[in-house]
């Protein structure tokens, strides 16, 4: 099942269109861009426009102009996948910028946490959305059936309900740090572009955990010393564990957690599409830089990351900060 409104390439999924726009020959590129521009769901593809700008230098205005469309001015929109899965993304529009809260708690939770993440990046780093150019933030809830995951698909956030066997039902959208974690993958896509494999992938995951936790702290008005430094606390069913990861105590979050906290204990896994090997251990070895965020004697209100720069956190004096911004890695 595909959304109506695409005037050509009607069975082509957005991801394929983006690849054609980036990697196709001249005719394919033009056709793909024309298709994206003419789509009645252009607003929902705005995340793809950011990728196109970065990968092929085509701007949103140019794309919208090809079809005489006005670029979207929406900050965020939440959609309901109605359990239909990948071919029905983003889904049915559920809540937008100026809409009041709805009956659906997952919609409201995703909406609120997305706003909190946007506000954090804007207030602290003066960054206007993931692409620093006001990109619309698109979220889909109720993805799939009892789907035990949340992810960034390159263009939008996607949240399952959880099965109640691994993740608590509604737990993923209730977790502000999970939402901020996913959105930060988008920021990384537009900035450092850390390859999602082995060490660079672990740094990619680390960045999402750091900013996931910072958004949670900022939202709660916490300083670093008051934070729990847990990612995804209370998202797993209690029998499995307290959280997905502990940044302060890697390896203690859930039953079977094998995160190391030091490079001496780096887990060298192959990147071989085996689900056990996690793209070469990206969620496992992120424990190493995560632990480095919190050395002994960390000053309240300020973080230091290993030998790198400092991150600005709420409570710090911006005038005396030694700097802020997105960490850059290979």
């Amino acid at each position: 099942m595909y959304q109506s409104g695409w005037v050509c390439c009607q069975i082509a999924p957005p991801d394929l269109l983006a690849r054609l726009a980036a990697e196709g020959d001249a005719a394919q590129r033009e056709a793909a861009i024309q298709t994206l521009a003419a789509s009645a769901s252009l607003r929902t593809q705005r995340g793809l426009l950011g990728r196109l700008r970065r990968e092929v230098g085509v701007g949103a205005a140019e794309i919208a102009g090809l079809a005489g469309l006005e670029p979207s001015s929406s900050r965020q929109t939440v959609y309901d996948n109605q359990h239909n899965g990948r071919s029905f993304l983003p889904g049915v529009r559920a809540r937008g910028d100026d809409d009041a809260p709805v009956q659906d708690a997952a919609v409201n939770d995703a909406f609120d946490a997305t706003w909190a993440t946007y506000d954090f990046y804007h207030a602290i780093f003066e960054r206007d959305s993931l692409d620093a150019a006001g990109m619309e933030l698109v979220s889909t809830v109720h993805y799939g059936v009892d789907f035990d995951n949340a992810f960034w698909n390159g263009a939008q956030m996607v949240y399952g309900d959880g099965s109640g066997r691994v993740f608590q039902v509604g737990g993923l959208t209730r977790s502000i740090d999970v939402v901020a974690h996913e959105l930060t993958h988008g920021v990384t896509d537009f900035t450092a572009g850390l390859v999602y494999s082995k060490q660079s992938g672990a740094l990619n995951e680390h960045m999402s955990d750091v900013f996931g936790s910072l958004v949670k702290q900022h939202s709660a008005g916490q300083t670093a010393d008051k934070a729990d430094w847990l990612i995804g606390a209370d998202t797993l069913v209690p029998a499995l564990g307290r959280a997905l990861r502990s940044m302060s105590e890697p390896g203690t979050a859930y039953s079977g957690d094998r995160q190391p906290g030091h490079m001496d204990d780096y887990v060298d896994l192959p990147d071989d599409n085996d689900p056990r090997n996690d793209n070469g251990g990206v969620h496992i070895n992120s424990g190493i830089p995560n632990r480095g965020v919190l050395p002994p004697g960390c000053q309240p209100g300020r973080l230091r990351l290993g030998e790198g720069g400092t991150y600005l956190v709420p409570g710090a004096d911006r005038a005396t900060s030694t700097g802020h911004g997105v960490h850059r890695g290979r």
Binding site: D15, R19, G85, R86, S87, G144, V145, D146, D148, N149, A150, F151, W152, N153, G154, S163, R165, V166, F167, L172, V178, H181, E182, H185, T188, Y196, S197, N204, E205, S208, I231, G232, L236, L240, G241, L244, R245, Y254, S255, G256, R258, N273, D274, P275, R276, N277, D278, N279, H283
Partner: protein, 104 residues
């Protein structure tokens, strides 16, 4: 016939193992499982196209033990065929299935 589904990657957390053995099913349900497997056409799944990874997407391994033969298939969330997704959902809904944490 026995099917084993391993799910990992994702946003992190435990790697899970879901197993369903047709020997545990009634004859009618065993037949329904066989029909689901046929519909998924597991033996003729095309090689997924090379694509950009999606951070935190789930990774799947499906192992089918049938007679003395074993078939192993691996997918990401983006490449999982819809027919196989439906098979997985059917298995997840069976009370006879077992679920555990996958050994590393």
């Amino acid at each position: 016939m026995k099917l084993v589904i391993v799910r990992g990657g994702g946003i992190g957390g435990p790697v899970t193992l879901t197993e369903l053995d047709s020997d545990q099913l009634s004859s009618a349900d065993s037949q329904a499982l066989a029909e689901q497997v046929d519909r998924a056409d597991l033996g003729n799944v095309p090689e997924p196209a090379t694509r950009r990874r999606q951070p935190d997407e789930l990774l799947y391994e499906i192992v089918v033990h049938n007679g003395g033969e074993r078939l192993i298939l691996r997918f990401s969330e983006a490449t999982l065929p819809d027919e196989i997704r439906l098979l997985i959902q059917w298995i997840d809904g069976r009370p006879e299935r077992s679920q555990s944490l996958a050994p590393r």
